[in-house]
Amino acid sequence: MTTLDPPASRPVKPQHPPVVASGYTPATVTDQVNKVVFGSTPKWWLVGFGISFAVVMMFLFAVTYLFAKGVGIWGLNIPVAWGFAIVNFVWWIGIGHAGTLISAILLLFRQEWRTSINRFAEAMTLFAVACAGMFPVFHLGRPWLFYWLLPYPNTMTLWPQFRSPLIWDVFAVSTYATVSLLFWYVGLIPDLATLRDRVKNVWARRAAGLFALGWRGSARHWQNYETLYLLLAGLATPLVLSVHTVVSFDFAISILPGWHTTVFPPYFVAGAIYSGFAMVLTLVLPLRSLFGLKDLITERHLQAMSKVMLATGLIVAYGYVIELFIAWYSGNEFEMFMVHNRMHGPYQFQYAMLWLCNIFVPQVLWLRKVRSSPVLLWIVAMFINVGMWLERYVIVVISLSRDFLPSSWDYYSGTIWDWAIFVGTLGFFVSLIFLFVRFVPMISGFEMRHLVAHGSKETKS
């Protein structure tokens, strides 16, 4: 039977790295997952949280000033009435998409590697959506009247204009936030029960016990639970694809050159997933080494996430090319001017950086060496984070600053208050991430136990 043995000289095809390092049992994997919550507070955590919380204080200051003075402190004016606020809104909402994609779509596709990162990515989604939701409200000018956007019987007898994409946005984003919160909380219930059963501190036990609702892992509980979890994944799948579609309608339903395109919905969704995975990597890469979770978030996860980024990045590249092509193919003077203005106008630097960050640099992900190197991967992820922000800047600002009538053209740039509020939401986001990883298990314990107990499908075959 020697013919069946592979020749020694031929290199063996590299297998996927494992989803979980070998040697774990349900008990040890539970301890590993909860280690961060039960351990003492690391010094770097205090420093990191301290810095990000200081940024939140700066954010509160900037927002207070904004509320007192109005949106005039921003760089907004006619014709550019949508500046940083909308750029940041779209950027943050996009980042949120990775969480739901990982937790819902990859669950339906039975991707085992989602198990170690879904909880974290879902939390990231919630925090990103919280940051996103603030910007349109700030942008209202009178943010304390934001509830006028909701349909409710009122003494003015006014109702929202349901034909407006801005109202669709209100519904899309609030539904997305609610469903993401429910999905995250439902996933947490069995893990909160684990905390309740293990934690020594009486107040921590009471808090965990309160939110665990008395979960006891009964077979009846699990049956309803698993059914619901699958159904929620099924509901969240079209939802996640719809949210950025609706956000893109804010632009695509208008008649402005550069906005009025049918390619926007798919290209926005792909871009959202692209930026979401980049943000997951930005956060997970340092956290997994700081908390010693490399056994659970393995090279396999880095490889898989890199491939998702590569694929969605290529869809985004297709979107950029099609924008150029259609502008030429339409033969429309204004469309062609829009492209010329992007390439050679006052924002040509941002447009060039956009191509560099989003299209050219990420092509290094074709190399296995880059995909498995945490440092290089983190650098690529940072390029994509910046690139996706620039994409929204290019879309929002360039089209508005030079529309059909040259006499109304203007140049827009953000003021210090624009930057303060944007950086402030970054601090808010990072603060929430710090609190989350310290007080809640950042990896789903019961799903890891199931994975460890039943063994990975791949290692079995």
């Binding site: 049992t25 349900p26 008990a27 539970t30 349909p151 007898t157 006014l158 109702w159 929202p160 204009q161 349901f162 034909r163 109202i167 669709w168 519904f171 899309a172 539904t175 609610t178 469903v179 429910l182 999905f183 439902v186 069995p190 029960a193 684990t194 309740r196 059963d197 293990r198 016990g209 309160l210 609702l213 008395g214 979960w215 006891r216 892992g217 009964s218 077979a219 009846r220 509980h221 699990w222 049956q223 309803n224 639970y225 698993e226 059914t227 619901l228 159904l231 929620l232 509901l235 969240a236 079209p238 939802l239 719809s242 609706v246 309608f249 019961f446 799903e447 136990r449 199931h450 107990a453």
Partner: protein, 185 residues
Amino acid sequence: MSATHTPSQDPGSYGLIAEFAAEADVVAAARAARQAGYSRLDAYSPYPVEDLTEALELPRSKVPLIVLIGGILGGLGGFMLQYWSSVIRYPMNIGGRPFNSWPAFIVVTFESTILLAAIFGVVGMILLNRLPQPYHPVFNWERFAHASRDRFFLCIEAADPTYDRRATEDFLRSLNPSEVTEVEN
């Protein structure tokens, strides 16, 4: 529940609980208990075990039906809200377009469908599981903390008509448990 207690039984007892180290053992034990005629029993596991559902002969989950009802109510409610406010309550003529411009209402209808289906599902799951329920007799046994970590449990309630303190304990001991104990009510 207490009506089914026979006088020989201790009213302070909830039932007998057996601990198992292996998933296969608890599934086999649950199956054996059903075959022995026990009906008031439950199994506990640190992660979902599909075979237990089948071994305990649990009825189908009602969660899908609740989600369907939520989705239908959400879809109809969302569309009717838009129809009523745009056609009846606050009609606004924009460029002569129809008041019932239904294609523009699809987005909100879709969102409200998903929203209500998800909320109904989560609330339904929690209520079907009789949660929140901070107290349950099985928590009285300190070993039960392992049910959320690495151990499996099978509990036969004293309220079961075939329950007999002695015979049931002997039966549970024959199923290869690591421990059997009585849980207080």
